[in-house]
Symmetry: C2
Subunit: 116 residues, 2 copies
DNA sequence: ACCATTACTTACATATTTGTACGTACCATA
DNA sequence: TATGGTACGTACAAATATGTAAGTAATGGT
């Protein structure tokens, strides 16, 4: 979310992660708030302010950063309306929608794991 | 992996994440090397030194930390043999095995996403 | 007595992520 | 002229995650 040190071991190791389809996938949804956002957007498109209200504990900055990252990764589509005050809508892309059923299974697994 | 500050916003926000079954699940597999380790252990149980050889870019410390976390979360079973030099074997638990098919789908999704 | 092996541990340094506080542009309305 | 709403941006601080380097215990073999 901020400039990366191109030559740290940390960053170089990232390449090992991006190499594998699985870790690549999880990497894309790995931000702290991304899954909650994706989940929420699954049922309907929402404005920035709607998301802000929904997730009162997420700061505006973080919301912006996570949405930007999701947009970059092609999981969220951002539409700006040239109005004042501004209106910006976020919705899932096809790719993100395909993720839905998988996440549902993960969620079920989580629920099951929790009750042990 | 190290002592947490119980009252940071960061730690308090974690509770919001653990509340949701989905984010809870992803949280369990969210360490940097966990998925690679789980993936590898799916086919066979392995010794610490085997894993070390397999993932030469993961430091011993990180390997230990990730394995410990996986063990804590009931995804990996650790067996110590009272020998010298020591022998320790790691294998997946039932719970982790159930995760396998889901991860396979995630991996496929990742592969598809990558080729866009 | 010395060295090698295995599976760690510990102290410390660095990198990255997340959070805090504040500022901005736009225009409509009071 | 002042204020309000929306969707950000920016500088900075704090917290956490990861990486580096070195050390440990036990014992068998030389």
């Amino acid at each position: 979310m901020v400039a990366r040190k191109q030559n740290s071991t940390y960053t170089r190791n990232e390449k090992c992660i991006i190499d594998c389809d699985l870790t690549y996938a999880v990497y894309k949804i790995g931000g702290r708030w991304k899954l909650l956002i994706l989940n929420k957007l699954e049922s309907k498109k929402m404005r920035f302010s709607d998301l802000k209200k929904e997730f009162s504990y997420i700061t505006e900055r973080m919301l912006t950063l996570q949405l930007r990252a999701l947009e970059q990764d092609g999981l969220v589509k951002r539409t700006v309306y040239a109005e004042v005050p501004p209106r910006v809508e976020y919705e899932l892309t096809e790719m993100a929608l395909e993720l839905g059923p998988i996440l549902k299974q993960l969620s079920d697994w989580g629920s099951k794991q929790r009750n042990q």
